[in-house]
Symmetry: C2
Subunit: 436 residues, 2 copies
Amino acid sequence: MVIRPYAYGIWERMQQGVDRRIKEAGAENAYFPLLIPESYLSREAEHVEGFSPELAVVTHAGGEQLAEPVVIRPTSETIIGEYMAKWIQSYRDLPLLLNQWANVVRWELRPRVFLRTTEFLWQEGHCAHATKQDASDYAEQILHDVYADFMRTELAMSVVEGRKTRRERFAGAINTMTCEAMMGDGKSLQMGTSHELGQNFARAFDMTYLDANGDQQLAWTTSWGVSTRMMGGLFMCHGDDRGLVVPPRIASIEVAVMVVRDDDAGSVTEAARALTASLSDAGVRVRLDDAVSTAFGRRATNWELKGVPIRVEMGPRDLEGGVVTFVRRDLDGKRECPIDGLAVMIRAQLDEMQLAMFARSEQRRLDATVRTGSIAEAVEVASTGFAEIPYALLGEAGEDELARSAMTVRCLIRPDGSLPLSDDEPDTVAVVARSY
Amino acid sequence: MVIRPYAYGIWERMQQGVDRRIKEAGAENAYFPLLIPESYLSREAEHVEGFSPELAVVTHAGGEQLAEPVVIRPTSETIIGEYMAKWIQSYRDLPLLLNQWANVVRWELRPRVFLRTTEFLWQEGHCAHATKQDASDYAEQILHDVYADFMRTELAMSVVEGRKTRRERFAGAINTMTCEAMMGDGKSLQMGTSHELGQNFARAFDMTYLDANGDQQLAWTTSWGVSTRMMGGLFMCHGDDRGLVVPPRIASIEVAVMVVRDDDAGSVTEAARALTASLSDAGVRVRLDDAVSTAFGRRATNWELKGVPIRVEMGPRDLEGGVVTFVRRDLDGKRECPIDGLAVMIRAQLDEMQLAMFARSEQRRLDATVRTGSIAEAVEVASTGFAEIPYALLGEAGEDELARSAMTVRCLIRPDGSLPLSDDEPDTVAVVARSY
């Protein structure tokens, strides 16, 4: 996967939005090695079993064969666990809340750009807590206050917060929580996960602490991550037949100011440049497109394809009339607007577009979500959207049956849509869908 | 290498300072794969020869032996060259100015923390230009406007901008320019480099473009980078016997507000908390240390060791008198200051400390730099600092002789200290030193 500047600008804004919320949740950034001794992974049995098929292994380095091969991190629970165990001595060291922005490698036989790539970029939080309750609360806080809030507020995406079934859990976790989003085609995409790891990794890495009574205790750990996969989600949630539609808050370019064509004096370009500067001064992320040697239609299509939220077009006639032509990417049609006061109007339109995109995403998910009362009905519904079905009607056998239709339980929710806090809640509802 | 949160906070600020300047220089961030087919590296003969001994090689992945081994990028000229060649068609696509923040691996047999680690974090710029002159100008712009400016302004480090001799060049470059800084012990550290790659990589990757006349031309490329090695430089330049001294502009914590001890009513902690909030509101990066159950001396030593620029100490007696005790990390002694107006005073002290640290770094380098007239004299001087010697007195044979004393020509400068613009300038002066 190569991420070109336009997409990377979106990723940078995603990083900023997530990083700010992670810091507000009290975690600090750190960095751990890319290469992990193979023996570390083997210490947690389910973990190594889950990741072994996807590992990239370095056997030679510095011109020699290595005594112990090292693997490129597929995720960093093990290497970070090794160090956290050294740093945690007493209950005063807890919670230890770390996050890392990094690349990871999971060898993919069927890669799909942004969604399933051999290498991807992500953040991975790794935390140690004193009690099961602390760990559970923090994992939930990250899911809700960091991930779901970021996705709704900045990505303008409607997401379901739920709990994975046993079979869909992260390798080594006792609970995996997820944000699932509906793509334009009704399929689901797992946008981010937050795991309670119980004491599995603490035991494997001897992560113990002295409590207030001087007794030795095993820590409880959590891990959580979102990745460049969110870009795939963003594009497939909001995109249409003409290309991407990028929500203003995450767009690296909010407004493209286009010179349609110039007069001999160059006065349109001059006016467009002045307008660009005034928008920039007003805090709008704006780009001037004065490449008049390229056909206007081709340039306009390019901005449309890239999903830039607002296009402002200016030609000789507009300039005479003191107006510009204005196109919002998420609406049909063009409008004429006076140049005077344009910055204020644009700021308002960007805010409105952000909210409108979220509202449409929310509405589409609600419209394409249907409560069902049998597996057959759920399979029918989930061919075009999300089917809800009481988990009691499914069970693990029902999950097997769904798998035969290439469907899965994306997550469990309560009847009121909220997050179940244990595996044993009786009335949970399964959200069934096809997925990427 | 593990980077813990305190150091990573410094790295984040370094990234911000460098990234802002890179964007001002017109380059855009992008991301390219970590894993490079071995065959890519072999296309540029000097490049592969230079990096082969340090490569980490992935031979197995996804449970199988790979048909062609891939290497972990030691640097990305080859993989980025492969893509740039696809993207460049006409002179209108030039210059193509890309930058990547990434990790790289160069297998080190004698690692040294922050200075020479098997994996390190860096930014690597990779650009293609239409002419040799454009490439040369841009490489120099990056060295001066991005790197040297950042190091002087934010790291408070005096650096020499110079040109490497032929033997010290980057593998595959026709010119390497460098920023060299003097550490506390008089040794030199290469803090960042900017390379003209001529047409070597353009030829290897078939990076051609149609010029304005419709003729096919080979592009000229540049590459440039700074890394987590700058952290080693920062610590070894400014540190003293009591630990780090971090310049305010790069410090993740500028001020530590310490509760010395509290009274029964908890009024000191309360006042310290209010002071911390008021400093934070004034835009100061401040941390409250109210861990009174740990001995005060131990906590004070910890902040000193970490090099936090200003320590504000508050005890019951200070509070009564409406004062605090104030310690600037780069000066001896404590001062008493009224609490009223403290934020303004602290802002001024931080600014002053930043400039004072640069001035001391500059003065130390000038004091420990001596013009010499023979190789023997240069070797004598360079045992404790920088020796300057006309390169005409050295030549490649002289460089061999220096190597026997574990010294190198760090860079060539003009007699007036400025950067030589070609290999052929007659009066260049060699800066000779030991180095890390």
